[in-house]
């Protein structure tokens, strides 16, 4: 049962949160401790874990372990910033549990259950957390998009099963009907990631949700969705099926970068920016498929997701920490809180992929995969999108550091804990720039 120890810890956390909810006035401190300690415990239980299977439902491979690490780590900022509300706590831990189950799913129905398990609490979380005006509308939109993705997946699964009579998460020969099923299942995954043109729900949701929830959705949830895509596309007996992914990814990256250019509201800008990053990840998944699914590609994807967990969480939480919501309000911010501004600046450079940050290493690895796979045009488009995205990342640094603060009352500061999260994320984004150095022991084994 060691195989599911992190998931068991998370389940215990969910039950604990629900139990605390039975009290007439649940002590907020206890709830917050529970929310923070549960993902930490899950991370700790991953230490020294080994792959294994528990037929028929559970199979944890190296991928599953790696992804769990990224997912639990990506959830930590939101855990740390918990408001102490017991319902939100249960929803949040439930979503993380769903992601953990996704990483441990050993067959396709289990994959579907995990998908729904992680998605349903997320809809409610968007609706419930924070004070955003349009969060209910966004939650409904998110729910319908998610339900559609689920339905598409089930349709794909039925076609696939009708062809292969296999529900195992391993590649078996397929005919045209099975191919169509696989394509539909992949479309569901792309829906969850937010690939163009299946992205329409994403900017609204990320903008309307509370910033830390958006951070959580763009990191842990996105990581889970990428794993979902990796798993589904791996079902095809040959990687030729994935040939469309690089083009789709490059276009998503360019589209996200171009739309982020014109945004005045920072949370929406970051939403489009996360679209651009998702595009690179899809490109990476496609290249990994074309390269014959080597462990090296998985390592590259994980490093990307790890670096992005720091960058995106840090960027969204900055909005909470500073109270700034528009580019106009950001002007001159560096003179008000130099350290927080410097942290955010560092995160922006990392998001832009400028060395010596982790964002650069991440971007480099995706491009490396794509170059090795010989994907000339997707690589050029991705490079163009990197350049375009730098326009707004640099623009934000310029607004923050070079412009004068506007007259009038500055926005109210957020909690100190949010400032701490931003600083830690900035530090992580910087230190991951040296990833090839300190991860060499881990990676030299897989990078052949």
């Amino acid at each position: 049962m060691n195989l599911l120890a992190p998931q068991a810890a998370l389940a215990a956390g969910v039950i604990g949160a629900l139990g605390l909810g039975l009290m007439r006035r649940p002590p907020s401190l206890l709830v917050r401790a529970l929310v923070l300690l549960t993902p930490l415990a899950a991370l700790g239980l991953l230490w020294g874990a080994v792959p294994g299977v528990l037929p028929p439902l559970v199979g944890v491979d190296m991928k599953g372990l790696g992804w769990q690490t990224v997912i639990y780590a990506g959830a930590l900022p939101m855990a740390f910033l918990s408001s102490g509300d017991d319902v939100e706590a249960a929803l949040f831990l439930g979503a993380v549990l769903g992601m953990g189950l996704l990483a441990a799913a050993g067959n396709l129905p289990m994959l579907f259950v995990a998908l729904e398990f992680m998605s349903l609490p997320a809809y409610l979380l968007v609706a419930r957390a924070g004070t955003g005006e349009r969060r209910l509308e966004a939650a409904v939109k998110y729910f319908f998009a998610g339900a559609l993705a689920g339905a598409v997946f089930l349709l794909g699964l039925s076609l696939y099963y009708a062809d292969t009579h296999s529900l195992a998460a391993v590649a078996v020969p397929v005919d045209a009907r099975g191919q169509a099923g696989l394509a539909l299942m992949a479309a569901a995954a792309l829906f969850k990631i937010g690939a163009v043109p299946l992205h329409w729900w994403l900017p609204d949701v990320y903008e309307a949700a509370s910033p830390e929830v958006s951070g959580f959705l763009s990191t842990a949830m996105k990581a889970a969705a990428v794993l979902f895509l990796v798993r589904v596309t791996s079902l095809a007996p040959n990687p030729g099926f994935a040939a469309v992914l690089p083009a789709l990814g490059a276009l998503t990256a360019l589209f996200g970068a171009l739309l982020a250019l014109r945004q005045e509201r920072l949370q929406r800008l970051l939403a489009y920016s996360s679209l651009a990053h998702a595009g690179l990840l899809i490109l990476g998944v496609g290249a990994w498929q074309l390269l014959g699914r080597s462990p090296a590609g998985i390592a590259a994807l994980l490093i990307y997701l790890g670096a992005y967990a720091f960058m995106s969480n840090g960027a969204f939480v900055f909005l909470q920490a500073s109270g700034v919501s528009t580019r106009a309000e950001l002007k001159g911010y560096a003179s008000r809180r130099p350290l927080l501004a410097a942290s955010f600046g560092l995160i922006l450079f990392a998001l832009g992929g400028v060395p010596p940050t982790g964002g650069f290493v991440a971007k480099l690895l995706m491009l490396w995969l794509a170059v090795r796979a010989g994907l000339v045009w997707p690589v050029l488009i991705a490079a163009l999108s990197a350049l375009v995205s730098l326009v707004y990342y640099l623009g934000l640094v310029r607004d923050m550091a070079f412009e004068e603060a506007p007259a009038g009352d500055p926005p109210a500061d957020g909690p100190a804990s949010a400032r701490l999260v931003v600083a830690v994320c900035a530090l992580g984004a910087l230190l991951l720039g040296a990833a090839p150095f300190f991860l060499s022991g881990v990676l030299s084994g897989v990078w052949k």
Partner: protein
């Protein structure tokens, strides 16, 4: 040899120390900057001294990290000459900015810039090279954006985006290079020396092109130069010194260190095209400089012309031309550094820098006139001063080049035209500012002469111009072994 690591870590530590010292006050940060830049200069001189005593190269190597990346640094005469130029100009910049009331971040950015530049000149692993290369952009972005003049915000972003566009092409080229070498040899490596001679197949011309574009933006080669006038003009004086003095040299250094050794055959067949672009640079830069009414912009455009000469020397692919081009890089750093400082000193006093804003300054500020004249003459290549030696060697390299087509007189004529035009833009400006009668709008009466600190800085620079001009042998003996190692 840990000294090479020390070379780039020392200024970086200095940057951190400045930020910490800044908590105790601006004076402490400034003192810290002086201390560390002086120490950095001393260490680089000490390493350089080794090359005068016959040491040919020192290498730091390490076991590869993940992805075939390794921590490999090496220094030869070329690297050390440029690093010493970096440390020297950093010290000069700190001294020249001494009276400015700026926060600790100013000094920290200069030291961080020095660290990244040093890394570029040391790295022999292409991943490392690229990281240092890009890392130079961040401090310069802040130097322009925070302490520049009126249009600084726009100039800072433009500078970053243009050079980043070039760099990302370079990055793609490097990725293609490493991937192609892997499929040929089965080994992942970013090691520059190991990649030499690796069969690259069809990717080769594209890789070479990508590298040239990345380096060309930095030099800058016309028509990729449009970021330069804005960045140089809007940067603070010391920022312009580092930009023109060292950062432009990164591009040429990249061509000499990376592009030529990796692709000797393409270098040979593309050399006439590159020489053509370089000739255009020399003439076009000079023509643009003639049209400028802003002194700083004039000096900025003159840099484009001068770098054209350097490229001409380098693409002659002769030892003489390459050595001349390298020496001219050092010369240009010193001379243009002095000119930017002088324009900066003038601007500090009068808050104007248009040619027509001044007149008859020589009577009010004779020392300024002297140093300005000295640097201008060095810049236009007066025999006896440093510019002459470098330009002569570049042109002579072209004349003796064995590259097909380069023997065509066109290039020599273009070079000579560039020299002549240099006199035609520089001397009238000098004359108008310092000797012509004052016009009605002149602000010359705000200008006081240089003080002792400023004079000491300029004496140092002018002494170097004279030294290199009269006795270039010592300098050439540092550069030549390195160049010969590359040409072979």
């Amino acid at each position: 040899m840990t000294s090479l690591t020390l070379l780039w870590v020392l200024p970086l530590a200095g940057a951190a120390a400045c930020l910490l010292a800044g908590r105790a006050g601006r004076g402490a940060a400034k003192a810290c900057a002086l201390l560390f830049s002086a120490a950095f200069f001393a260490v680089s001189l000490a390493v350089l001294a080794g090359f005068l005593h016959g040491e040919s190269a020192i290498v730091v190597g390490g076991a590869p990290w993940a992805f075939g990346i390794s921590y490999r640094l090496a220094a030869d005469g070329l690297s050390m000459a440029l690093i010493t130029l970096t440390s020297f100009l950093t010290l000069i910049c700190v001294a020249a900015s001494w009276k400015l009331d700026v926060s600790a971040a100013y000094w920290a950015n200069f030291l961080a810039l020095a660290s990244a530049l040093t890394g570029v000149f040391l790295a022999r692993d292409l991943f490392l090279f690229y990281v240092f290369w890009e890392a130079t952009l961040i401090p310069m972005f802040f130097i322009i954006g925070l302490w520049g003049s009126d249009n600084r915000r726009h100039a800072a972003v433009k500078f970053f985006l243009f050079t980043f566009a070039g760099s990302i092409l370079m990055l793609l080229a490097l990725l293609a290079l490493v991937a192609a070498a892997h499929s040929a040899t089965g080994v992942w490596t970013w090691d520059l020396d190991a990649l030499k001679g690796a069969p690259l197949g069809a990717a080769a011309p594209w890789v070479f092109l990508g590298l040239l574009l990345g380096f060309g933006v930095k030099i800058p080669i016309v028509p990729m130069h449009t970021w330069l006038p804005d960045a140089h003009t809007e940067a603070p004086a010391a920022g312009s010194v580092m930009l023109a003095g060292v950062m432009l040299k990164m591009g040429l250094y990249g061509i000499i260190r990376v592009a030529l050794p990796l692709f000797p055959a393409y270098a040979l067949s593309w050399a006439p095209w590159l020489a053509g672009l370089a000739a255009i640079n020399a003439v076009y830069g000079a023509l643009c400089a003639m049209a400028q009414t802003d002194l700083k912009r004039l000096v900025a455009y003159s840099s484009i012309a001068h770098l054209g000469f350097c490229v001409l020397g380098v693409v002659s692919l002769t030892a003489q031309g390459l050595t001349g081009g390298s020496l001219q890089m050092i010369n240009h750093g010193i001379t243009t550094g002095a000119l930017f400082l002088l324009v900066g000193f003038l601007y500090e006093r009068a808050h104007k820098r248009g040619v027509s804003d001044f007149g008859g300054l020589a009577a009010r500020a004779p020392w300024m006139a002297f140093f300005f004249g000295f640097s201008i003459f060095a810049s236009v290549g007066l025999p006896g001063l440093n510019g002459f030696v470098g330009e002569f060697m570049c042109l002579s390299g072209i004349a003796h080049s064995s590259v097909p087509l380069l023997g065509v007189p066109f290039f020599a004529v273009a070079g000579v035209a560039g020299v002549t035009l240099a006199a035609a833009y520089a001397l009238p400006a000098f004359q108008a500012v310092f000797w012509a009668p004052e016009g009605g709008a002149s602000v010359s009466d705000h200008v006081t002469d240089l003080d002792l600190r400023e004079k000491s800085i300029l004496w140092t620079l002018c002494a170097l111009m004279l030294w290199i001009g009269l006795s270039p042998q010592g300098w050439l003996s540092v550069l030549e072994p390195a160049i010969r190692g590359l040409v072979r």
